[in-house]
């Protein structure tokens, strides 16, 4: 067979065009893809597993109900290794796939800060669980939060401790990462407004092996109540045990990690009778109860906020894409921001123009290992 110049040119053209044609066909494939960065490895790997399960359960339900824009939703997961470099790499891998229409980022504020510039550059909606208030107030219009931010948690912790428990000498303990620093600051500000500025404001570095100096500082401060923002459950477990061993038994109101399944397992009785602000509390609403049942049936463990926020994020994102009738990022953004009175596992979503969906917290108590809902405090400002 003789190869003519025309045949050769046609072959070259087909060779060059083929990858684009395949990619284009792939982009218009049968599924709508959602990317998810989750800690599959690293210190938060256990809670990362819960987050993935929450997202998958939501997507299963969405698909059963007709899917997204008439197609099945598909979750593409990348391991963020529980580190900032890890999530930057994971997000860049996902962002390189043009057919992914939206993303689930991290529950850890410090990791959301790490990917924020890339999110802005990409210009596609990213659902987040990080609670540093700054995340939705620093000009990044593509971040949408599915947990109440720490300006609310700080106010709820302060309000509950001062008004309900009647304590005014506070020790504030927080990690020194973005989440802990912002949370500690929010709590200190709220306490100062209530006329009870903390007698101790103590930071600690993540992955500490020993908290004896911290416990002794709390003891020496004369505090009669402790407010805390812990990033990792391992740290919380070690601290809780040492706190009790060294004889500190003052009331303790903590950020949501204090009622996480992992923390409850590690610390055990050391966390009995503590209070927590929880964005997810099973008895707080009908939506929370419904999620609790689905999750328990499927995963066989108690649900917590690690899984509830990703469950809600998938549901809201899917509904927004359907409402927008398009995968155009700007239209999805508008649809998310217009989401009002959406009954989720974490509560009722009413998105503001900053991208915050929730505006209140639940107070729960650890009653011998059982998390008991006390009350919900909602803010309108």
């Amino acid at each position: 067979m003789r190869l003519t110049r025309r045949d050769f040119a046609a072959g070259i053209a087909a060779g060059i065009a083929a990858p684009y044609l395949i990619k284009s066909a792939h982009a218009q494939s049968a599924t709508i893809k959602i990317g998810m960065c989750a800690p599959v490895t690293g210190p938060a790997a256990e809670s990362g597993g819960y987050a993935i399960k929450g997202a998958k359960l939501a997507l299963e339900a969405v698909n059963k109900a007709g899917g997204i824009l008439g197609k099945q939703g598909e979750l593409i997961i990348e391991d963020d290794q529980t580190t900032n470099p890890g999530i930057v790499l994971a997000f860049s891998k996902l962002a390189a796939q043009p057919d992914i229409v939206g993303f689930l980022g991290s529950i850890r504020s410090t990791q959301v800060h790490a990917i924020s510039p890339d999110v802005m550059k990409l210009g596609k909606p990213v659902m987040i669980g990080g609670t540093d208030p700054n995340l939705t107030h620093m000009g990044n219009q593509w971040l949408f939060r599915f947990r109440p931010n720490d300006s609310y948690s700080g106010r709820v912790i302060a309000e509950y401790g001062v008004s309900t428990l009647g304590k005014k000498k506070w020790a504030v303990l927080h990690s020194t990462d973005a989440f802990g620093t912002a949370g500690g600051k929010a709590l200190t500000e709220a306490l100062t407004k209530l006329g009870a500025p903390p007698v101790l404001d103590q930071g600690y570095a993540n992955q500490s092996q020993d908290f004896t100096p911290v416990v002794l500082a709390i003891k020496q401060s004369g505090a009669d109540i402790l407010g805390s923002y812990f990033t990792f459950e391992n740290d919380l477990g070690i601290f809780a045990r040492q706190l009790r061993q060294l004889g500190v038994n003052i009331p303790w109101v903590g950020s949501p990690s204090i009622v996480n399944i992992t923390a409850l397992k590690l610390a055990g009785p050391a966390l009995y009778n503590t209070y927590g602000v929880a964005d997810y509390a099973e008895d707080s609403s009908e939506g929370s109860k419904a999620f609790g049942k689905i999750y328990r049936d499927a995963v066989k463990v108690a649900p917590d906020n690690q899984s509830s926020w990703t469950f809600d994020a998938i549901n809201v994102l899917s509904a927004a894409i359907n409402k927008a009738g398009s995968t155009d990022p700007a239209k999805i953004r508008e649809a998310i921001l217009s989401t009002k009175k959406f009954a989720g596992a974490e509560g009722e979503y009413n998105f503001d123009q900053n991208g915050d969906g929730l505006h209140g917290y639940n107070i729960v108590k650890n009653d011998k290992g059982n998390i008991v809902f006390d009350k919900h405090i909602e803010f309108n400002d």
């Binding site: 490895t41 790997a45 256990e46 570095a205 092996q209 020993d210 911290v214």
Partner: protein, 290 residues
């Protein structure tokens, strides 16, 4: 004063953990002239073995023996799989191989057992005792006790027994030891087994305090490595003193200067030693060694 006593106890307790892992570093360094960066993972693997054995229903003491036997086996496998094939190469490929092995061990445990951190009960039902103003955590008391016993055992073993002397001879000059009829490869095998067991012992002892997680080994190993340099690389007494010193320094530094910079104090001391006394507290001078 009460505060200082409490800090001193905790500092010695956590320092003893560093010392145990540092001891493993030193023994392998002496025998092979390379740093085993998987030493921390030995601790993690042993802690998981202990959890699995306890969950399987074995009594605590039996689980302890099973875990240590498992570590001895890991020492054999590690020697044959990581060190032995590269023994005639320079130190660099061996060090890189130990880093690779450490990643392999961590990810293998992750794949087999999953990411869930585990709780391992301590040896004693009583969590601790109050001695005047100082609370003595029973697990830390055990760790300190075991460290003291190991110091005595090491002295006896290396100075008073024939096997210990053969190990010392091998670490000092392999060629001469070989000429004297000592089986160098056997001595190195024994060193790896002993180091794996020591690292495992540290992991099992510290697990009730720090919980059992994939990361537990690397966190301890980093400090233990610093302790080894401070004490003098290659010196058994140096590893113990370095470990204890590091534990006490970081605990007091955190209490009296700054909690968030606790790790910083440990590494500040390390940098100071590297600048002003690179041979460490007990180490011989590099010039003399050369």
């Amino acid at each position: 004063m009460d505060l200082a006593l409490q800090l001193l106890f905790t500092g010695i307790g956590i320092g003893a953990v560093y010392a145990l892992v540092a001891l493993g570093f030193v023994l392998i360094f002496r025998a092979t002239n390379v740093v085993n960066f998987a030493q921390g993972e030995f601790s993690m693997v042993a802690a998981y073995l202990m959890v699995v054995a306890v969950e399987a229903g074995l009594p605590y003491w039996a689980a302890f023996i099973v875990a240590l036997l498992g570590m001895a086996l890991l020492g054999v496998v590690f020697n044959l799989g990581v060190y032995y094939p590269l023994r005639h190469r320079t130190y660099l490929p061996v060090i890189i191989a130990t880093i690779g092995a450490s990643i392999l061990l961590a990810n293998s445990v992750l794949a087999i057992y999953g990411p869930q951190p585990q709780v391992l009960q301590g040896w004693f039902d009583t969590p601790g005792i109050q001695l005047g103003p100082v609370y003595l955590d029973s697990q830390y008391l055990l760790i300190i006790g075991v460290t003291i016993c190991l110091v005595i055992f090491n002295f006896w073993f290396f100075e008073k027994t024939l096997l210990g002397k053969k190990l010392q001879a091998t670490s000092q000059d392999k060629e001469m030891a070989s000429l004297l009829g000592i089986s160098v490869s056997t001595m190195i095998m024994i060193t790896f087994i002993y180091s794996a067991v020591l690292g495992g012992l540290a992991g099992i002892l510290v697990a009730p305090v720090l919980f059992v997680s994939i990361q537990m080994g690397s966190t301890i190993a980093l400090k233990a490595f610093a302790a080894t340099i401070i004490g003098g690389f290659g010196d058994v007494a140096g590893a113990i003193i370095g470990g204890l010193a590091l534990g006490v320094i970081e605990t007091f530094g955190a209490a009296y200067i700054s909690v968030p910079y606790k790790d910083g104090f440990a590494f500040l001391v390390l940098v100071a030693f590297l600048v002003f006394r690179p041979q460490g507290i007990f180490g011989e001078r590099v010039a003399e060694k050369a």
